[in-house]
């Protein structure tokens, strides 16, 4: 997935927009000419009828006219010989006490030129203004939307096409049908096709023939999209709807509801996994430090904040110095935040924490003090307000996987990142010499030292590693939440809970605890609200620890008490 994103990123600038430039202005059909004339009528009903007629043609050349009508820049000028012409006027120019305006044709908004080929300027007071009432503007809006929709249906970006189809479907205007059908024939992307089909069905459900409406209801049920649910429910309960339609709508409601139950379940699961992966990213570094030295590093949240601010600074640098490569800033920020937080962790360990091994509670208080100082430092340096970190384009948007489910790229990225981080930690700790040393020091500091492991170096580097992971977590958090001096505080208690539940220095325990707490949180949240969700988690963790006082995967037996 990641590679796909990168590919997309690389390819995007190369793609140009082959926007379908429709028709050079040829002479319009007679009925269009008639409608153009009628649009200028002083009778509102005639005017509206003409506008709708123009809209129905689907001729894009008429879009400027409709837009001009909405803005009120359509006038009528008298031609020699008593004939009248509907024109669009441009920006006003003042000349003495006269107000002059350039004139454009109603059909295609071509500049009208005088005999010498210069743009024709007319005296505004000689022109007759076409009134645009509120009801006309109401009529015009869907017509113009339909036109812009048609353009967007041809956009190279599939998300734009999809959004256009959804919008047209929700608009429910029958005028959009031809464009949609057209687009459906050309469309290759599965998700856009789906959106178009749904839009067509929605429009037909609203304004088709009775048979079409029944058909549309059935199709909407088959498509399963949640957008149609309200409309279908309404129909199923409507007293005046034909029985066949009511039946079809009711069936469709059932199908859609069944489908949405499935999608909601998947959605909750995904959110759970997403939250779990965030917790895991944060808890991983915490757990490594806790496992090595039995220390809960209270400054972990602030190390995360350091990572987040490193990302912010990187982003700012790219904006200022290399705007062309802005999309890549995150790839630089990720390792950079690891280094920044890791360096801070290294300094912390060498500077103070190493004096306190074997006194976990003292270390807890000390790191809390450090956390306050880092927090205040960030506040003084960057200001107390949140700073903006703009996501690179390849992390915005989402990946549609099934109807009703789109997985945001930034969440997917964090899940991926957490997976990679865990795998890397596993390999590092269990498959390398360095990891062997870390584990040796973790289990028996004195013995490891006797065997020639430089335990002090191991301590410092492990602490730096844990801190670096915090930095990465902070960097990832910039993509989904606010970046401020208090960034670390929001998640930190949760990640402590993960570590405590997971047990000391157990990678698998940490993973399972993160999944459990993250998942539980998302399951409880809809029912109890976020606050009581948290309370419930605390209760669950306490009850859980009742049964396993040293966490999920505590060493048993004779070591249990040491």
């Amino acid at each position: 997935m990641f590679i796909r994103l990168l590919l997309a990123l690389a390819l995007l600038p190369g793609l140009t927009a082959p926007a379908a430039a429709q028709g050079a202005t040829s002479s319009p059909a007679p009925e269009i000419v008639k409608a153009i004339a009628e649009v200028a009528s002083s009778d509102a009903a005639v005017q509206e009828g003409a506008a709708v007629a123009l809209g129905k043609t689907g001729d894009r050349t008429l879009l400027p006219l409709l837009e001009a009508l909405r803005e009120g820049s359509v006038y009528v000028r008298s031609l020699p010989g008593g004939k009248k012409e509907t024109v669009i006027v441009g920006d006003k120019v003042n000349e003495g006490d006269k107000t002059l305006v350039p004139l454009f044709t109603a059909y295609g908004r071509e500049p009208i030129r005088s005999a010498d080929g210069k743009p024709l300027l007319a005296d505004l007071s000689k022109l007759q203004e076409v009134p645009t009432g509120r009801s006309l503007r109401l009529v015009l809006r869907p017509l113009i939307d339909a036109f812009s929709g048609t353009t967007q249906l041809a956009d190279p970006d599939w998300t734009v096409r999809q959004a256009a189809a959804v919008k047209m479907g929700n608009g429910g205007d029958a005028g959009a049908l031809p464009a949609l059908t057209d687009a459906l024939a050309k469309e290759k992307d599965r998700w856009v096709r789906y959106a178009i089909e749904e839009a067509i069905a929605l429009i037909q459900l609203k304004s088709g023939s009775p048979a079409e409406r029944v058909n549309a209801a059935t199709r909407l049920g088959a498509l399963g999209g949640g957008d149609a649910l309200d409309r279908l429910r309404e129909l199923a309960n409507a007293a005046d709807a034909p029985p066949a339609l009511k039946q079809a709508a009711a069936d469709a409601v059932k199908r859609v509801e069944r489908w949405s139950l499935l999608t909601q379940t998947i959605q909750v699961m995904f959110q759970g996994v997403s939250l779990s992966s965030i917790l895991l990213l944060m808890a991983l570094g915490l757990a490594i430090i806790f496992g090595l030295m039995g220390v809960i590093n209270m400054a972990h949240g602030e190390l995360m904040a350091l990572g987040a601010y490193a990302t912010y600074v990187t982003q700012g640098w790219f904006q200022g110095h290399a705007p062309g490569f802005f999309g890549y800033y995150f790839l630089v920020a990720l390792p950079l935040s690891f280094l920044v937080a890791g360096a801070a962790g290294f300094a912390l360990e060498r500077g103070v924490i190493r004096f306190l091994y074997g006194r976990p509670l003292e270390t807890l208080l000390l790191t809390w003090g450090i956390s306050l100082m880092i927090q205040q430092g960030l506040r003084l340096w960057f200001g107390a307000a949140n700073v903006d970190v703009i996501s690179p384009t390849w992390l915005s948007g989402g990946l549609p996987v099934m109807v009703g489910i789109q997985l945001p790229y930034n969440r997917l990225f964090i899940i991926g990142l957490a997976t990679v981080a865990v795998a890397a930690m596993y390999l590092l700790l269990f498959k390398t010499d360095a990891g062997l040393r870390v584990r040796a020091v973790t289990q028996n500091r004195g013995m490891a030292a006797c065997l020639g492991v430089r335990s002090r170096r191991v301590d410092a580097l492990t602490f730096a590693l844990g801190a670096g992971l915090a930095g990465i977590a902070g960097c990832a958090l910039t993509q989904i939440g606010n970046v401020g001096p208090e960034l670390g505080q929001n998640y930190i208690v949760d990640s402590f809970m993960v570590v405590v539940t997971g047990g000391v220095g157990k990678l698998l325990g940490t993973i399972l605890a993160a999944l459990g707490i993250g998942g539980l949180n998302k399951i409880i949240e809809p029912g109890f609200g976020a606050v009581f969700g948290k309370v419930a988690i605390l209760v669950v963790v306490i009850v859980f620890i009742q049964r396993r006082p040293s966490g999920l995967f505590a060493a048993k037996g004779r070591y249990a008490d040491s």
Binding site: F290, G294, V295, I296, V352, F355, L356, Y357, G358, R359, P360, L361, E362, T363, L364, L365, L366, W368, G369, I370, S371, L372, M373, Q375, Q376, G377, R379, L380, Q489, V493, F496, M497, V499, V500, V531, F532, K534, V535, L538, V541, I542, V543, I545, Q546, R547, P549, D561
Partner: protein, 377 residues
Amino acid sequence: MRTRERWTFLAAAVLLVVVLPALNALPQGSPFRVSNFTLNLFGKYLTYAILALGIDLIWGYAGVLSLGHGVFFGLGAYAMGMHLMLEIGAKGVYQNVLPDFMVWNRVTELPLFWRPFKSALFTLLAVVLVPGIVAAVFGFLTFRSRIRGVYFSIITQALALCAWLTFNRNTMNLGGTNGLSGFKTMFGFPLNEASTQRGLYVATALCLCGAYVLCRWIVRSPAGRVLVAIRDSETRVLFCGYSPAAFKLFVFTVSAALAGVAGALYVGQVGIITPARIGVLPSIEMIIWVAVGGRGTLIGPVVGAFGVNWLQSLLTTHYPDLWILALGGMFVAVVLFVPDGIVGTAQKLMARFGGAKTPEAAAARSEEAKAVEMTSR
């Protein structure tokens, strides 16, 4: 008590309970007069000192670090605050018997759990019992399953977070973020009068003396030695036939009850209680009072509560940005350089140069030896 200690205690008690309020009662303009503001400030510090004594009992003696004492302080404060809210009656902004925030939140009837707080007696009991019971239940669940060390600290911190989140909710009918404020009278005495405040101050000072005597009785009894023994080796205590869980539960509950009393006295003198007083940060700030003053001594927490809070009011008025930095620095400095705190270090120095042989000094010495032992590991 030993004679010298008794005289020191009596002198301090007389100073706090009699002399200061008497000086406050002097007529305006007298050069010896203690201003209402100062007395009120002292009163607030005294409530913090009661709270700190409780924390010292569980942390300084039994070695159990609770990062959730703000919750117990808050429970006491809210219990008293609820009574004071109801005492306002229809004299509030909305002229309604319901507290103003309820009118604002369109609550039409007094919630059930508010009703007993109309009774002053119930409130006074609740101030002690509510935090005590919450602590007892929480402690029972955690100590029984042998959650200790950093595990216990983290769980109590989560408790503080949860309580803070809960009290912030408007639907709890506890005033949400704004908490409870706007009190007019306390047990019928108008709160804005100097004499009421003086009375409250005296009550607080008396409570502090009582708390000191209570804590001293506990730590000097054989049970107090069990607490210190728990700090040294919980397993050994267990095999001596004592249940460490029961002893920890006992001091945790006493400590929570003291925090509740402190909270109730705080509300009367400060006039407001909000969730901001019970969250994660205030809960851990309380720890630093004890650490700075000197844990494992009974005078230390009192000195620490006064000292740190005095420094806080000083800094926040003159250099607001520096306070947090100073607070953080204090955590670092105390842990690294003055693990015995001010009082512990002073006692150690006195013991070294003066040869005084108080048990506190001995405890201080032992702390020193322990620290040496630890660092030499």
